[in-house]
Symmetry: D2
């Protein structure tokens, strides 16, 4: 296995760095994790696995990492042999449930970026994803949305990292749900960059099929709808409708929520509520009255920007923007790891968004 990643300076708060493994390192979320962790001062990447490219150096598959991370890609079985402190699972849905039972020991930290452990309710999972083979572990998992579940995450050893769309939608809804001020249906119109579709060869994601076009998909049938809904349900019974669209950009999700708030509330009231609720959140930025987010303004960062407007009759529009690969996946996974390891939550995630 190749050399250490260049530029990693240990911050020195422990006697050694945490050893980290990434299972499925050559998909978009896996490689984004590598990029983030190379700048993290308290961990060391010790294992990268890939079915497709095993045996190759990571940097021969991704030349941008040449001189930055020259580790070799190993088969997934290596995960069972190495002594690792943290395991990130960046695998296709359905694979984690087979692997987690063999890795979960109450000491190691496991963070699953797939959907397998996001639902406490096995029936709900199975209705949308098919049979679950590790139901007994579902109750051990924590839904890793720090803004909602920070304290549970701190003590968890199995974290189910939320989906990218649910992250963007729930952060836009949470303050109103928590305050009990949300009334009327919730329509969630989301638009995502193509990296959200993964790094698989599919005709529909070829450049000429995506560029210069725009389309909805899985209208009212996307598997992120029940994931959003189960969180909404713990606060309110208003119905949720979710429509995702494919944007001709690499990175970014913008979610526009249409709903109703308690009559009489003004835009400034609700902005205050959002500012208060997220006051101590390092990665949530609430816009000024009249301003709205742009995916461009959060690219490559772990920020979620939120803007909103309320109308006299209670109708409201709330807009959130995240980078789908960072706050929507790998950045949030690192945020979860930091919490669970007792590290500063922002470590590895401090770089500002990149523009233009």
């Amino acid at each position: 296995m190749g050399g250490k990643a260049r530029g990693q300076v240990f911050s020195g708060q422990r006697d050694r760095r945490w050893k980290v493994g990434i299972l499925g390192a050559t998909g978009y979320t896996g490689i984004c994790l590598v990029s983030i962790l190379l700048g993290h001062r308290e961990v060391e990447i010790s294992l990268l696995t890939s079915n497709t490219h095993k045996g190759l150096a990571l940097s021969s598959v991704f030349p941008f990492l040449k001189g930055e991370c020259d580790l070799s890609l190993e088969p997934i079985s290596a995960a069972f042999e190495k002594d690792l402190d943290v395991l990130f699972l960046c695998l296709p849905h359905g694979q984690s449930m087979d692997i987690v039972p063999r890795l979960y020991d109450g000491r190691r930290l496991i963070i699953d970026l797939g959907a397998d452990f996001r639902f406490e309710d096995a029936q709900l999972y199975e209705r949308f994803y098919g049979p679950h083979t590790s139901k007994e572990l579902l109750s051990c998992a924590t839904y890793g949305l720090p803004e909602l579940y920070r304290e549970r995450i701190r003590t968890s050893k199995l974290i189910a990292n939320p989906g990218c769309y649910p992250t963007s939608a729930l952060l836009a809804l949470y303050p109103l749900l928590k305050a009990g001020l949300l009334e009327g249906e919730i329509y969630i119109d989301s638009k995502s960059g193509v990296s959200g579709a993964g790094r698989e060869a599919k005709v529909q994601n070829l450049f000429p099929e995506v560029s210069e076009g725009f389309r909805p998909y899985s209208v009212g049938s996307h598997r992120h709808e029940p994931e959003i809904e189960k969180e909404v349900r713990s606060f309110s019974q208003v119905p949720v409708l979710f429509v995702p669209h494919l944007l001709p950009i690499n990175r970014g999700i913008l979610t526009t929520v249409y709903t109703k708030v308690r009559k009489g509330l003004t835009t400034e009231d609700v902005l205050s509520l959002f500012r208060d609720t997220y006051e101590k959140e390092p990665f949530i930025r609430i816009m000024e009255d009249g301003a709205f987010p742009d995916t461009r303004q959060v690219r490559f960062s772990n920020y979620c920007d939120i803007g909103l407007k309320v109308f006299a009759d209670g109708r409201a529009v709330i807009v959130s923007a995240i980078d789908n690969l960072v706050k929507g996946a790998s950045g949030q996974a690192v945020q979860n790891m930091n919490l669970a390891l007792g590290i500063d939550e922002r470590e590895g995630l401090r770089h500002p968004p990149l523009y233009p």
Copy 2:
């Protein structure tokens, strides 16, 4: 003034072609009109005006037209001197109201692609656009949405071509509105390509400010909202909320409408209603159950594709896609001209969408 446009073969149904002038030929809607009319067999482009480029040949400003249309660009004053049958006004909002009174004589056909004559109600116009200086002509104008007002258009001499967003939204709503089956708020989430912003030098529309980003703008305050609303109002009093977004593509509008229909209606019921309502429409295509439009599938054509889904509790999603410069502007203007001149409505608009 230079030579005739190549390739124009007169169809021979009259003894001569109609003489057409385009005022403001070098903006995106103007140049798109030129492109369409070059393929129209019953008209002849006789005048092109441009403030910015007057004196130049059109093809020196737009080299793609070299050998296709080498007419010179004239000052707008030329419009008052020429003997023209049809005038298209592709001018910034507020300019048509000064020019139309000098051109309108009940014989010439005037088609205004701007907003000046879209509102019968002068007060409504003035609330959103500022003072109107030709109020007496407002009642002479016909709102040029053929699917709603075909018969009136046939006999009109002053046609107010609809805005791009209203076209996409109203075509998605009309069958339900007409049938009285729409209940509950209407949320209109629209996404438009950048050509909709016009061909003016603005930092916010530079390539590096648009590419790889996505953002809403004029949330609940866009001037197309009252234009949509005035048409909805003639059927129903449900409130309308309109949020436009800027897509990093050249052409295309996709509009996703969230609303409620009368309980008990199924997706197939509503699809049937749409198919029946638009049965004879040459430019409306209703998708199969489960299918939704993509702006890519209508690019460069005058089509409006519509797909929809209805949920058990009456909530509904209706999605429409148009090319904002064709059905959303210049193509619809030609469709209106064809109707008003008694020409086959599809003339000049027969080419299929272009892919990829």
Copy 3:
């Protein structure tokens, strides 16, 4: 098999339309041929084949064609059963050589958009492409670059449509080669849109792998280099070096040629030579002194725009731009068909480029 394509008006110069088949109709060149032929007044699309989608209606695979062309896709074997006047082969390299011997009868017109019949010299072909199984037919084929071989094309029954890069490079070189004024090496720096890579699912052509990037490929080893070289060789022995690059656009090839011309020649001399050589060419546009082509200015048209500059010491830059799917493939194939059938060369190809 479904209905006729809408909008096809027979021009009436013969007693019936020519019957055309397209083998491999669902790749980018196949579907582009369909689009062009739908606007051609003297042919009728009678057969479309597809291995991947056989049994489906073309418009169910490509919804943009709904109402325009609803023919069903048949297996390739149907080509041997139908009575067709013209066959376009849009197949992967190596498949035509198996099929052409069974179709070629000296009466039917066969136009192959692949490489199988582009080389008269079987050895040269085999060095770059592998074994050729129909060598006996190589001498029957005509290299279908009308600007070079128009007369031969008129009487040919087997036309090898040139590659997209060779078309752009050879049109930039031909006047100098023919006049014997080219001296010194020829460096050909070409940049192509992604549709040139075909409609196959490949990771390297996914949107996130192409967008916001730019790269050369097959440097000095691309199979279009010998295709260019064999044509250059008939005039001159100067060495040719060809480097293609992948542009993050759908359509378009821009080729920048660096070479030397006879010392003493000026830019205006060489522009005159180009204008004279291509004087009667309907699809070549020579730019003014100081102006250079842009792929945007030829998109969706059969034009090749050429601009150039010559320096005092004889060094020269020649730049050409084409739409890789039109003049670089399907448009040129129709131009060849028109010539071979005795139809106006521009039929079906008269529409101007589309902008923006």
Copy 4:
């Protein structure tokens, strides 16, 4: 003036951070400098100026910096009042020559990202740029290409940061020039992203004018040609021809050089030469035989990737890729600053490229 930038942790090697000012902070190179310096542990941003936006907080113009850098933008005159250690000039060409004489005192470090001090030869400058009003300072300036002039840069107080195209071209040529192995003309075919054109409102750089197109410009007349040539001249008299093209991407320059090397040299010979020459360079990566750079693989980093191929007759292709705003401008400026201040050359520039 607002608060400190978040996340800046002083590395502690001096008793205080260097105070830095950026003149012209709201152009693309200015804002890129801000982004880089926010992650630099030994400097503190003390002044940002902007003519267009003075008085505003930087983060109100660029919301991506909210919470990251909330400094106010001051008029340029503030530069003469503040006690600054380092001044970066990101001004339009021609402005630095008026300001530098008032700032240059042999103690402060001045780094000019414009062209005013790139030419020692005033006549050469004036032939391409117009009158120079500070000729006496030309000999004080160092051309800031560290790979060529590292030692001079270390002791310089006035550094002329190279142009983006010259950086990409000279790094591709330097090893051969230095070794005296370059023979025959040099043809430089460069392709740049749009951010290289600056953040000014120009119609030609609007999204619909750039997207889906590709074009050369300033063929053989770009002002970066003499900048490249003056450096080549110090080694060799071979003529240089430079043709830039505009890519529809935000960031990145790919330069393809065509030339001849001494006959007998192989690809591996020349790759070895490149590896040796750049052996200790922290930001140059030489590709393996057969591999070539992609702008995607260097985005947002200070790397220059180089690949090449040599043919039997001495013809050679050398390809380099940089991020035009980083190694082509602001990153290289920080590299120069680090050298001149005696800081680790890589400080602030350690992050790997970002993908996808």
